[in-house]
């Protein structure tokens, strides 16, 4: 039975909370993943660690997908809408056609893309 990334992330953070040094905690996390044959999930675990750390400080992990690259000013305007505690990641996704899509903590989505609108009009 595979262990979920959230369990690894919680264990990692609680180790840090107990005073284990960062290097040792990272080393043991990697050893644990290799031992269980789940080393390919390191990215998922890292994302989960990041999410829990941001959540702990009262922030959210926000992924904003744009249909095309934004100029610096537009990007700054968008980032200014979020709290300083939030971790904001931007990505380019041409499949959106136009507009943008926001993902909060990997669990909530706000879709304002043209692709979503077209799918609603022409299901």
């Amino acid at each position: 039975m595979k262990t979920s990334p959230r369990i690894y992330a919680k264990a990692f953070l609680s180790a840090l909370g107990l005073g284990v040094s960062e290097e040792l905690a990272i080393k043991r996390l990697k050893q644990s993943l290799v031992k269980r044959g789940e080393h390919a999930r390191i990215v998922e675990v890292t994302e989960e660690v990041e999410k829990l750390m941001v959540n702990e400080k009262g922030g959210k992990v926000v992924v904003i997908e744009f249909a095309r690259a934004q100029d610096a000013k537009a990007r700054k305007n968008m980032l200014d809408l979020f709290d300083k505690k939030d971790r904001v990641i931007t990505k380019i996704n041409p499949r959106l056609v136009a507009g943008l899509r926001v993902l909060r903590d990997g669990e909530w989505e706000y879709d304002m893309s043209l692709n979503a609108k077209l799918e609603k009009i022409l299901p």
Partner: protein, 507 residues
Amino acid sequence: MSYEIIEKLKKEIAGYKEDPKWQAVGAVVETADGIARVSGLTGALSQELLEIDTPSGKISAIAFNLEEESIGAIVLDEPSKVAVGARVRGTGVVLSLPVGDALLGRVISPLGVPVDGKGVLVGDNNTPLARSPLERSAPDVVSRESVREPLHSGIKAIDAMIPIGRGQRELIIGDRQTGKTAIALDTILNQKNEKKRTICIYVAIGQKQSKLAQIERRLREQGAMEYTVIISAPAGAPAPMLYLAPFAGATIGEFFMDRGEDALVVYDDLSKHADAYREMSLLLRRSPGREAYPGDIFYLHSRLLERSAKLDEAHGRGSLTALPIIETKLGDVSAYIPTNVISITDGQIYLESDLFYQGVRPAVNVGLSVSRVGSSAQTKAMKKVAGKLRLELAQFRELAAFVQFASDLDEATRSKIARGELLTEVLKQADGSPQPFYHTVPLLYAALNGYMDGLARDTVRDFERRFIEYLDLRHKEDVITPLADTGVLDDKTEEALKHAITQFKAL
């Protein structure tokens, strides 16, 4: 035409109201063998329909296992399209199927998609069909009434000794190649002869495509597709399709039952259904139990078969009769799935390989076959005539071992053996030729009352054919029509029948 399409599109765009809102989503973290493990979507419902984003569009899945950290979902499309990281959305609805009269004569997948190349399913005035959920609670006790109307199978041995009532669940069980499907198909074909039309649903679970094509052709050629729907989940379909197929059949049957009509659903077969469910359960890492089936395998079949019912007057008096089929291995009825389904159903028709190879077809083992509620639904005329048939055959079976010493036996034993042999011959019936009950009743009357005694075994078939032709030609008014209309063999009709048999024998 193109102008109309453009206008419709313009209308759709003009009427579009933007209403973006936060929506719960998840992500695929693992996928294999038609199963996707999804993280997130913590508020998903059991059996909720999910949508998975793929490069070629959205595909559907069903939330099956709700676990602490993830959801085990079964993918309802090509599983190879699903990639790790794909976004998953809940829809808030459970899986449903289009239902309506437009389904009659069609072959559809368990998801309600036509697979016969005859176009999309549309209702009256090109409106979309209403949808009905695949999983629904069975009718409660209050809305049911007891089974008391007959559903004639057209098979002499069954209508006479193992009668089936509308709303009953009668299991057809036997080894491979013993004629299980043939009995179900004959029952469907026989509905053409019935005054009260029964809608038939044939659910093919894990059957070969070639066999299904043959069945469809046969039903179409004999005019039975007009009142039949076929649900196809062939052997090559993914396990979730095989799992869903009988529920789709029950859903369609319930649609007609709720309208006050009678429906018959054939599940061919539930052994393969149980195997598909076992495969899914093991892939979902549910604990295996006996024969590696999951713990809820009994509940799977009981909740499916409990949906068969005869509704009371307040609910329209519709009915849903079920004929589940189970394939046994080397005649072992005490295996796990056969005993489960035997205990759920209201009786079983047991087919035996030995009888089949002896030429007794349908190969019904009368001793082991039973109908627990059907006798109260049996047509009165049939009940009156065939009452002693089971006893006569049972006595014959006891004496059958002495057949080869017949010359050394006393007269009474010899006559019992002769009568048993005659009745066995009379009950033989060719595949695909169901017989209406108003023909079976006079024939059995003649056989059981000594009118056919002394007839050579190889002439019984010919006697039967000529006798029925004779009754149809000369005694339609006084024998056949009263029987067909009332279902009762009253004194007047009985006298006319006796007279007709005497006249026929004198010819």
